[in-house]
């Protein structure tokens, strides 16, 4: 069995100041190089799970292990740095700082991740853009001027730069039309395979499942409790 890229064990979490929403994950595992699609309706706790995996919030109980490190053992600052080093994040949309150039957007995570910075070559940003089918001169363009599809591909380039072991994607295709979605996923999988990263994508769209190693329903691994406010 391969090394796990990510494991969650007996995790319980409640948003501070928002007592009405609680989540618990008895067990979840993502192997190195594996791609998993996590299906769930909106409000099912997908974003909370991603926040836990990225170490933006910490579990009240249980373990979240990222590449063998229990996130709870890290102090807040170290956790932020750990995230920058190990995780590439792709959002649903509005991924980029619209006022910054494409190049600055792609290189931003390296600012907080010295080891990833060392791994990234000087031309990696441009190389990734070309590999993702973006025009060569786009690198200096303002991110806010790009089409939504282009922005999502730049977000992929940003997540992949410096080859982080885990890519986390939060419905990255929901803003794209069906034809573009397929092309986008093709490019995403090619580049993730090239980088050797694992992929954890959350979505509500079951049709995407075909490309993934595994499809998991969020309801099967996590239970969410809600109290009427």
């Amino acid at each position: 069995m391969a090394d796990p890229a990510l494991t969650l064990q007996d995790v319980r979490f409640r948003w501070p100041g928002r007592a009405s929403f609680g989540m618990s994950v008895p067990e979840f595992r993502l192997d190195r190089g594996e791609s998993v699609l996590l299906l769930g309706e909106s409000g099912s706790g997908k974003s909370t799970l991603l926040s836990l995996v990225c170490g933006i919030v910490t579990a009240d109980a249980g373990r979240v292990d990222l590449a063998g490190t229990d996130l709870a053992t890290l102090r807040a600052g170290a956790r932020d740095r750990f995230r920058a080093e190990r995780v590439g994040v792709i959002f649903q949309q509005f991924n980029l700082l619209p006022y910054a150039s494409v190049s600055d957007n792609i290189l931003l995570p390296l600012k907080f991740a010295p080891e990833r910075r060392k791994r990234a070559g000087p031309d990696d940003a441009a190389r990734l853009c070309t590999a993702l089918g973006l025009p060569g001169d786009i690198i200096q363009a303002k991110a806010g001027r790009l089409s939504v599809g282009q922005q999502q591909r730049v977000a992929v380039a940003r997540a992949l730069i410096g080859q982080p072991p885990l890519i986390v994607a939060d419905e990255p295709t929901s803003a794209l039309d069906a034809a573009t979605q397929d092309a986008f996923l093709g490019l995403l999988f090619d580049q993730i395979a090239a980088a050797g990263s694992s992929l954890l994508m959350v979505s509500h769209d079951e049709r995407l499942g075909a490309r993934f190693d595994r499809v998991v329903h969020l309801a099967d691994i996590a239970s969410v409790e809600r109290q009427a406010a």
Binding site: S47, F91, D104, L107, G144, R158
Partner: protein, 416 residues
């Protein structure tokens, strides 16, 4: 890169940011402008009299004596008798003495009786002498030399007639003895610009038929007869004195202040000016206080602007966080943006100030006799600018701390 991104973020919100920067710039320009006018006015006052060791007048207050004798503000309480004046003039310490006789006016301008010595010994702005650019000095009994502003305001040229009025703001005129403009003094930026200068004898001459401040009814001595009369004055208003050695100033001052025949007062112009500053100081402080409040208001405006932008920037904050930025980085980013805005505002304010100075310098000089020098920013002004930037950074801590807390609680949940 962080600096470039902060700058880019500001540029992306160019309209609100430029409004904020403009508000800071205007407040900074106002603050520095008030400071310039204040120091300029001080320097201008201090420049009005130079090279005079003592001012002598009837006993009153030193500030009052300075104001009426040099600045033509207010009036003398009493005169100095001609005998006392001669006694002082005859003192061995005295190098030169210039009598000043005030009390009459021409339109809104004061008439001052004096001697040729005034043109030789009155100095302003670090020892500059009066220059009669047009015409000549007081040669004839009925010659008048006018200041540049008198000439400009009333449109007088050399040779024009002038009728002196009795007293100030008066309806009785010495129209039986008209004067003639003999010369016009080049602009000095001092009260001389607003003065009509005649000889001491002329002041006597126009009052020949007057007694106790009123014309003796029916009496009008012909001008030719007046010219033959002894026109030695019986009193003067004040006198400017120069001593031979600066060491003798205090001795002479003490002698005049204890003069037994008549209660007199001798003051050092510099000391009297210092007293004046002490009085004006309160108003100065109030002025600085008000302009400082304007700067504070502009900074509070900036704070409000940052606060109101926080909500629409939560998405941006979430991106920074997801990329690995610590909440402290977000806080630093907002403080950096505020510092940048304040620095831009300070620079623009400085530019506005100098542009304003360049445009207004001539106007202010001719309208108020106030010369505002255009010089490099002083250390104090630069310290003020640095203070504004630091204050902006401090003020921005409030919204920045809120962003810090938001970015902690939002996580990656923001869906905008």
């Amino acid at each position: 890169m962080i600096l470039r991104l902060a700058f880019g973020s500001l540029m992306a919100r160019a309209l609100t940011v430029s409004m904020t920067v403009l508000a800071i710039a205007l407040s900074v320009a106002l603050f520095l402008g008030v400071e310039k006018v204040r120091t300029g006015a001080k320097a201008s006052f201090a420049d009005t009299i130079s090279g005079t060791d003592l001012i002598v007048g009837a006993r009153s207050g030193s500030v009052q004596l300075l104001l009426y004798s040099v600045f033509r503000i207010g009036n003398a309480t009493n005169n100095v008798s001609w005998e006392s004046y001669r006694d002082i003039a005859d003192r061995p310490e005295v190098d030169w003495i210039v009598p000043i006789s005030l009390g009459d006016s021409h339109r809104q301008f004061r008439v001052m009786g004096t001697t040729q010595a005034f043109f030789e010994h009155y100095k302003y702005r670090g020892g500059r002498s009066l220059e009669i650019g047009d015409g000549h000095g007081l040669d004839d009994l009925y010659d008048a030399v006018i200041g540049a502003e008198v000439a400009a305001t009333l449109g007088y040229a050399v040779g024009d007639p002038i009728v002196v009025s009795h007293g100030l703001a008066s309806f009785t005129h010495h129209d039986d003895q008209p004067f003639r403009v003999a010369g016009i003094v080049d602009r000095t930026g001092t009260p001389v610009d607003r003065t009509v200068i005649v000889s001491l004898e002329a002041i006597e001459a126009i009052h020949v038929d007057w007694q106790s401040g009123a014309q003796i009814p029916g009496q009008s001595t012909p001008v030719e007869q007046i010219r033959q009369m002894d026109l030695s004055p019986s009193a003067v208003t004040a006198a400017l004195v120069g001593v031979k050695s600066r060491l003798q100033i205090f001795g002479l001052q003490r002698w005049i202040n204890t003069y037994p025949e008549e209660p007199l007062l001798a003051v050092l112009p510099g000391v009297a000016l210092q007293e004046l500053w002490q009085i004006v100081g309160v108003a100065e402080t109030a002025l600085i206080g008000v302009s400082a409040m304007v700067v504070v208001t502009a900074l509070l405006g900036m704070m409000a602007m940052i606060f109101s932008s926080l909500n629409e920037r939560r998405r941006e904050m979430a991106i920074w966080r997801a990329m690995g930025a610590r909440p402290a980085t977000i806080l630093g980013l907002l403080v950096l943006e505020a510092g940048l805005m304040a620095a831009l505002g300070a620079l623009l304010g400085l530019t506005l100030l100098y542009t304003g100075l360049a445009l207004a310098q001539q106007v202010v000089d001719s309208a108020f006799g106030l010369w505002l020098p255009i010089a490099r920013p002083t250390g104090r002004e630069l310290a003020t600018l640095a203070g504004v930037i630091v204050a902006a950074a401090l003020v921005s801590l409030f919204p920045a701390l809120r962003a810090y807390r938001l970015s902690l609680s939002d996580g990656m949940m923001v869906r905008i």
